[in-house]
């Protein structure tokens, strides 16, 4: 089945309506001493003068020229005491220690893996920061080094935590927990990293037998629900299962639930709505109420209706 649509038409007078720039000159120097701080709804423009550098310190997204703090990105202004920063509307992922990320192995190197994690530099996963087969914490051996590809090979997806930073700013990951490791039984959805907020838990389980890993770098893993392993610590570690490339048997209803959740995430992300567990759950329930096919989610009006319904509830 094939259907043709048109590209959205531009309004005829798109070029004629000149946007009037708000030229309140006295607004240019922002009154940062205002009780509420700079209004968060206002976006900066690169090159815009924010304040004087005598009174304030420049943070990320700003620079100092001629004793003035000037924005270097488009974004919202944030102020902590005397520090002014601009948080960009869109950027690549900025890692912080303790963040949960999903990454893809880009390269296998001696005693380490390079991982693409949607950041400025490839993340690094050391052989010493993964769980090795054998259960107990043990020293890594030469034999482990020789069979690194049996743990992770190029293209593999994994979930990990940011452990530390190297001197050059590259992040070091670790998967030394049963929650972390290789990803199977599902599909990847990529959204802008700014849409994933820091939550209490980034491992979500929807009642439809679907697990979601909302990684902070914008890579979202949607997969079949796997029962939590009861044993704590290293005891429940099964190297065979953790590093396997084989998927479990996934029945048809789970598969369509995964596809449905992936489509919902894509729709919400394209409307630039930050993703939270409650929002995803509501959206899923809304589509189930409508009793619709998974592929109706691909239609524009249906997606709009979904967004309208979910946003109105908030």
């Amino acid at each position: 089945m094939i259907s043709f649509t048109s590209f959205p038409t531009q309004p005829e007078d798109a070029y004629r309506t000149v946007r009037r720039y708000n030229d309140d000159e006295d607004d240019a120097m922002m009154d940062l001493d205002d009780e509420n701080g700079p209004s968060s709804s206002k976006l900066t423009c690169p090159g815009e003068t924010l304040t004087s550098s005598h009174d304030y310190m420049r943070g990320h997204g700003t620079y100092v020229d001629n004793d003035e703090v000037i924005a270097s990105v488009t974004g919202t202004i944030e102020r902590v005491n005397r520090l002014v920063t601009v948080r960009p509307v869109n950027s690549r992922y900025n890692p912080e220690i303790g963040d949960l990320v999903v990454g893809r192995i880009a390269e296998v190197q001696p005693r380490r893996w390079k991982v693409d994690a949607n950041s400025r530099q490839d993340a690094i996963l050391m052989l010493s920061s993964v769980n090795l087969p054998g259960g107990v914490q043990r020293r890594k051996l030469e034999s482990d080094e020789l069979q690194m590809r049996t743990f992770f090979e190029e293209g593999d997806l994994l979930v990990a935590e940011v452990q530390a930073f190297f001197a050059d700013g590259a992040m070091s990951l670790h998967t030394r927990s049963l929650k972390y490791g290789k990803l199977r039984n599902g599909q990847l959805v990529i959204v802008p990293p700014v849409l994933v907020r820091r939550l209490k838990s980034h491992f979500l389980t929807l009642p439809c037998n679907v697990d979601i890993i909302l990684a902070l770098n914008g890579y979202i893993w949607v997969s079949k629900h796997i029962k939590q392993i009861e044993q704590e610590g290293e005891l429940g570690f099964d190297a065979e299962a953790v590093y396997s490339n084989q998927n479990d048997r996934i029945d048809s209803s789970t598969r369509s639930a995964i596809a449905r959740v992936a489509n919902i995430i894509q729709i919400l992300a394209s409307h630039f709505i930050p993703l939270t567990d409650t929002l995803l759950l509501e959206a899923y329930e809304w589509t189930m109420e409508q009793d619709s096919d998974v592929k109706t989610l691909l239609q524009e009006d249906y997606g709009d209706a979904l967004v309208a319904a979910v946003v109105s509830k908030e």
């Binding site: 893809r104 593999d156 599909q187 490339n245």
Partner: protein, 337 residues
């Protein structure tokens, strides 16, 4: 997509979904479904015909999808001795490096070479040659350049290229030309050129050294007319491509990038519908590893023909709708003057 290759687990997840009894795809489509295809003709005002096509554009923010722009441009070609007297068709595919950020410049070049080869071998084949590319018999003809630019690739590039090329060729207008000829009066060689006056030449003698032997000169002119020209001859014939992605025992259409990397073999079938009942196959290619047998192939061609007929009908009605829309727009612009 961050990188072109996917993990083994992802790949087997996709394959298992496609080969199961109740086949399912990552975005919930059926095996025979295309993503939404957006098409617009007449996007390049300086070209003789043009079209923009996008498969799988995100309807909410307009991002993503495979995007191709096709444009045709006619050039006057002076024929050399022994050249074909019917005009030429030359197709070129250019890939924007932005469409393939994970490929090296050399790999992008190889890819556009490969795409060009398939498109050019098919569209420039004598069996599809339009009849009205001749300007002056034996002297001048049109060179029809079909240029395709890949702006983004989110899978199924061949179908997109062929559909865009078809739309642009459908839209192509060949300028009207009028044949003008100058004939020298009998026996009056001097009248042809301005020169010759200073020399004393016998009127009744033809010298062997007289190289001004041309007794006639022919050229063409473009008459003023209300439209841009006539459409290409046989524009119903331009073919469309159906890419069948083979995951035995199933096959599916319009693969996304990740589906493409999980499927080893695809079959390109290019159909031309000069008449809707008896389509002809204009090209056939296998791409990838894996093999098939002749009973399977028989089945695939039959199914492919069915898909192609659906696609052809949909594209045809869209092209006609585009013509109507543009006529309407022109009329409105004219009225507002």
């Amino acid at each position: 997509m961050a990188s072109s290759h996917i993990s083994k687990a992802e790949s087997s997840y996709i394959q298992a979904g496609l080969t199961s009894k109740d086949p399912q795809r990552l975005d919930g489509r059926n095996l025979g479904d295309y993503r939404a295809v957006a098409l617009e003709t007449g996007v390049a005002p300086l070209a003789n015909g043009s079209a923009k096509l996008n498969i799988g554009r995100n309807p909410h923010n307009g991002s993503g999808g495979t995007e191709v722009v096709a444009a045709t441009k006619l050039e006057v070609e002076t024929l050399e001795e022994g050249a074909v007297d019917k005009g030429r068709v030359v197709c070129t595919v250019t890939c924007s490096p932005a469409a393939y950020p994970h490929l090296s410049p050399n790999a992008v070049e190889d890819l556009q070479y490969d795409l060009t080869t398939v498109i050019n071998q098919t569209l420039a084949h004598p069996s599809l040659h339009p009849g009205n590319l001749r300007i002056i018999p034996g002297r001048k003809s049109w060179l029809l350049n079909v240029d395709l630019v890949v702006l983004a690739d989110a899978g199924n590039i061949y179908d997109a290229l062929f559909m865009a090329a078809r739309a642009a060729l459908w839209d192509t207008k060949v300028p009207r030309t009028r044949f003008v000829q100058f004939k020298a009066r009998k026996g009056g060689v001097d009248n042809v050129g301005k020169g010759g006056d200073g020399m004393d030449v016998h009127q009744d003698v033809t010298s062997g050294f007289d190289t001004r032997g041309a007794h006639s000169a022919a050229d063409f002119e473009l008459p003023d007319y209300w439209d841009e020209g006539e459409v290409l001859d046989g524009r119903d014939r331009w073919p469309i491509c159906i890419t069948l992605n083979l995951v035995p025992p199933n096959h599916f259409l319009d693969a996304t990038t990740s589906e493409e990397s999980a499927v080893p073999l695809k079959l390109l079938l290019v159909f031309s519908f000069a008449s809707i009942e008896v389509p002809t196959i204009q090209a056939m290619r296998f791409i990838g590893t894996g093999e098939t047998s002749s009973p399977e192939l028989r089945q695939l061609i039959k199914e492919g023909q069915r898909y192609a007929a659906d696609t052809f009908k949909a594209l045809q009605s869209k092209l006609k709708a585009e013509d109507v829309r543009r006529n309407q727009k022109t009329r409105e612009l004219f009225a507002s003057r």
